[in-house]
């Protein structure tokens, strides 16, 4: 059984999600504010995905946002998104040996810049990019207009019900 130890430097708490070999790993925080992840596996290699996307991803983006619009009571209690909609997309395949260790450093955000740099280890980088999503901005505008119309209609409906 091979053991993989990864250390993530420069990643903040709420930034992105991580999967290792298709599962969500347990991370432990060190005193130096880095994250440690240790995995034991029988596979020959493991795929690591670091991803952060926005709420307008996928084919069902309108449905999911509509659902959250109602759950958050007309969007009043919804989470305010970053209006530039940054996307983090990092994928790497790590060949496993008996004891593999890797250091992944987060790079500063810039539109179209690489997301991370692999230090102290070997890995095949499949994707390494961070950028602002323009399509998400367009979808956000569409949904904002929909929210406004829906809210006005619902308030009118409430007034009519209360009046009669």
């Amino acid at each position: 059984m091979a053991k993989l130890t990864m250390e993530f430097i420069g990643f903040s708490d709420l930034e992105g999600h991580l999967t290792v070999g298709g599962g969500i790993p347990t991370l432990s925080r060190t005193k130096q504010n880095t994250y440690l992840c240790t995995i034991e596996s029988t596979e020959k290699s493991l795929e690591v995905v670091i991803h952060k996307s926005h709420r307008y991803t996928g084919r069902l983006w309108f449905f999911w946002n509509l659902l959250f619009f109602f759950i958050s009571i007309l969007g009043i209690f919804d989470v305010r998104p970053n209006k530039k909609f940054p996307v983090l997309d990092g994928r790497l395949r790590i060949p496993l040996e008996e004891d593999t260790s890797l250091l992944i450093r987060r790079l500063d955000f810039a539109d179209g810049a690489p997301l991370f740099a692999v230090e102290n280890g070997e890995a095949e980088v499949l994707s390494n990019l961070q950028y602002y999503d323009k399509e998400a901005r367009r979808r956000h505008k569409i949904f904002s207009r929909f929210k406004l119309i829906a809210t006005v209609l619902l308030v009118l409906l409430l007034i009519i019900i209360l009046a009669f």
Binding site: T19, V79, D133, E135, R138
Partner: protein, 170 residues
């Protein structure tokens, strides 16, 4: 062109991460609702305490208003005869003297207290459930579903109480 570029390079995240992101958003929404519920509960508590105070304050204000009105009307009658304002004050004076205004103010104070307290009690329950749910990211605890059910019930109940209160005031 920009849109095409963006669409072309936006990768679809793994389904597991999509679910994780959605769950995180749901938990944060519940935390926001929980905080708002706590504030509402506190307001309901305040209104319950302040209701008698508000009632007596309203009575005092009404008493002073009647006094000023009577004096003003007397002044108008005594010093400016045949003034149409006198007639208007007379009508208002009759309304106040009939006691209807006291009933309206009382109804308003007690109705607002009743529905705020009802809403507060429900939201207090909710805040406990939702706060507990918010601290367990990545899972759908049964308490979240229960809280949602209470939330829907609470809103229907509050809506009916408010509607009933308004009808009673009318």
């Amino acid at each position: 062109m920009d849109r095409q570029d963006s669409q072309a390079r936006t990768p679809l995240p793994p389904p597991l991460l999509c679910a994780e992101a959605r769950m995180e958003r749901l938990n944060r929404i519940f935390l926001h609702i929980s905080v708002a519920s706590l504030v509402l509960t506190f307001l309901a508590f305040l209104s319950t305490i302040l209701a008698p105070v508000l009632f007596f304050t309203a009575l005092c204000v009404l008493f002073v208003a009647i006094l000023v009105m009577v004096l003003f009307t007397l002044g108008l009658i005594l010093f400016i005869p045949d003034n149409p304002v006198v007639f208007l004050w007379g009508v208002l004076g009759d309304f106040i003297a009939s006691g209807d205004s006291v009933m309206y103010i009382t109804a308003f104070c007690f109705n607002s207290t009743t529905w705020l307290s009802a809403l507060g009690a429900i939201t207090a329950l909710l805040s406990i459930g939702l706060t507990a749910a918010g601290h367990r990211p990545g899972k759908i605890p049964k308490i979240v579903l229960l809280s949602l059910a209470i939330l829907i019930f609470g809103f229907i109940f509050a809506f009916q109480t408010v509607t009933g209160g308004l009808q009673w005031q009318n």
